[in-house]
Amino acid sequence: MTTPTADIDALLDRIAGGETDLYLFVVQRFELSLRSYLAGQLYDLGEADDLAQEVFIAAWRDLHSFRRGEDFGAWLRGIARHRVLMHFRSRKRHANAIDRFREEVARISQSELESAACDDGSAVIEQLLHCVSRLPEKLRRVVRAGLDGARPAALADELRATVAAIYQLHYRANQLLRTCMQGGAQP
């Protein structure tokens, strides 16, 4: 779900009129969708959050160039796209195989990620929390643990499973979550 452009325009008008602290409300309104978009390319949430902050600051400094009536979330993602590329470039000298792989994936899939993100408003993403809470216990544990680095191995150890099984469980959970988010059968 997207924020009605008229509403965000009205808010931006108030900000332009001097109520600068209202920009924090804009941040609050768009943070979840922007952080999700960035985490879907970087996976490291710390890096995604740092970039999200940079994007919001860049947007603030360039707010006069945002054309009223357009999609503010898409405008933010445009700034984010550029920042993601810069981020990968800045790390190039020290990048490991995972970073290089993510960079290539982001490059190849940029336009499709952008189109998909149009539907990922905050309310849709927040719905995920409810869907996660309804997953079967084992799947919920896998989803909450995440797939970063050593986590699948640690979880596999706890659940007496293989790492491949953890990935499979997460995949299954993701399918159930998508169904739940589309208003289908509960997981």
């Binding site: 779900m1 924020t3 009605p4 509403d7 009205a10 808010l11 600068t20 602290d21 209202l22 920009y23 924090l24 409300f25 941040v27 609050q28 309104r29 943070e31 952080r35 999700s36 960035l38 985490a39 879907g40 996976y43 710390g46 995604a48 959050d49 999200a52 919001f56 603030w60 400094r61 195989a97 995972i98 792989f101 290539e104 994936v105 190849i108 899939s109 990620l113 993100a117 990922d120 408003g121 905050s122 849709v124 927040e126 995920l128 929390l129 409810h130 996660v132 809470s133 919920r140 797939l147 680095g149 986590r151 699948p152 150890d157 790492v163 990935y167 499979q168 995949y171 993701n174 979550l177």
Partner: protein, 363 residues
């Protein structure tokens, strides 16, 4: 799109390469990237997964504190006071709240639950009034600070494991200290130093590699809101370490457990809490750097399930193996030479007007 509940082999390898969860040979990476460019169906499958992983990452962690943004905006330091963004715009929220109340009496009934929330903690965020701005997707919500702990006041945390009840920190061996080993408290003059990864009465039969500080908060008075599925708890803490050897690694994280009234905490161990909790979540583990000048945040948030009457908040520091070494390379009882936590904050957000499940969800 693959409708089977089993991943194709290439998708499995793709996810391992992307998440870093397993060794993937360079040749496989190259092959997958070529396939990603050439095969639209495969690309759609991969993107569906990484988008979901990104959303799960973001939605399960609270937003960062946005301190750089408030600097740029020039929000006054006194108003900000290094608090999370939901607390930051107090003046903004207060103004919006006034506008909302002035706009109509229909929302006045929302003041009533604030009294209940205030009994749990101090109401710090008044109203997130999207309605006044015309947003349909962010209904009225309220943030209540549960804990803001800087370890400035006694008593020091107990060292007997899981706290027997609300109101006091307890966990593994720790001590409250001032400036120590080049590390200054994040705020005030005190911080908590982890000493060991075990506590009084720890069973000798299992390894102890994680030092924990825990606190229980009673949320029973919010049971009606909790049962409606509209109460979210957030927890954050700051971690720091004095320099430690290159062949050692330490990670910090926070965990939230939702507990019902049936679990007797006075006899509970962490294993029992883990097993009996209605649900729980652990935020990202943050690997600590060796710079005593930087405090590193870790956070998590949890939607409380119906039946929750208490939450157990846990701040953990664990030693991890380095490189390809396994857990068995670590000592059975880990000690901490110079590892600290400070500024532990817990809050809850109650979304009052429309439950998330009632919101329209895009197809």
């Amino acid at each position: 799109m693959n409708s089977d509940l089993h991943m194709t082999p290439d998708l499995a390898v793709f996810l391992q390469a992307w998440t870093g969860g397993g060794p993937v040979p360079d040749v496989d990476r190259e092959r997958l990237l070529h396939r990603l460019e050439d095969d639209a169906v495969f690309r759609a499958e991969c993107l569906a997964e990484i988008r979901m992983l990104g959303m799960l990452k973001a939605v399960q962690a609270p937003p960062p504190r946005w301190l750089d943004i408030t600097d740029v905006l020039g929000v006054s330091a006194s108003a900000v006071d290094a608090a999370p963004v939901r607390e930051l715009p107090r003046a903004v929220m207060a103004r919006l709240a006034r506008e909302t109340i002035a706009a109509g009496r229909s929302r006045r009934h929302l003041d009533r639950p604030i009294a209940a929330a205030a009994a749990v903690g101090i109401v710090v965020g008044m109203l997130c009034t999207s309605a006044v701005l015309g947003f349909a997707t962010r209904p009225l919500s309220r943030e209540t600070m549960l804990i803001r702990e800087g370890f400035e006041e006694p008593p020091a945390p107990g060292v007997t494991g899981v706290p027997a009840g609300p109101g006091r920190w307890s966990g593994d061996y720790s001590e409250v200290v001032g400036v120590r080993q080049g590390v200054k408290p994040a705020g005030g003059s005190c911080m908590l130093r982890f000493q060991r990864a075990d506590h009084e009465g720890s069973p000798a039969s299992r390894p102890h590699r994680s030092g924990d500080a825990m606190r229980v908060v009673d949320v029973g008075m919010l049971s009606q809101s909790i049962d409606r599925g509209v109460v979210m708890v957030s927890l954050s803490a700051l971690f720091n370490a004095a320099g430690f050897p290159a062949d050692e690694r330490y990670d910090g994280a926070v965990t939230i457990y939702a507990l019902d009234a049936d679990l007797p905490l006075d006899r509970a161990t962490e294993e029992i809490v883990y097993r009996e909790a209605l649900t729980s979540t652990t935020g990202d583990w943050k690997s600590l750097d060796r710079d005593p000048g930087t405090w590193q945040p870790a956070s998590a948030r949890l939607l409380l399930p119906p039946g929750t009457t208490r939450v157990l908040l846990k701040v953990s520091l664990r030693r991890m193996p380095v490189g390809r070494q396994g857990l068995d390379s670590l000592p059975e009882r880990v000690t901490f030479a110079g590892h600290f936590i400070d500024d532990v904050q817990a809050s809850l957000v109650i979304t009052e007007s429309t439950s998330v499940t009632q919101r329209r969800v895009a197809p």
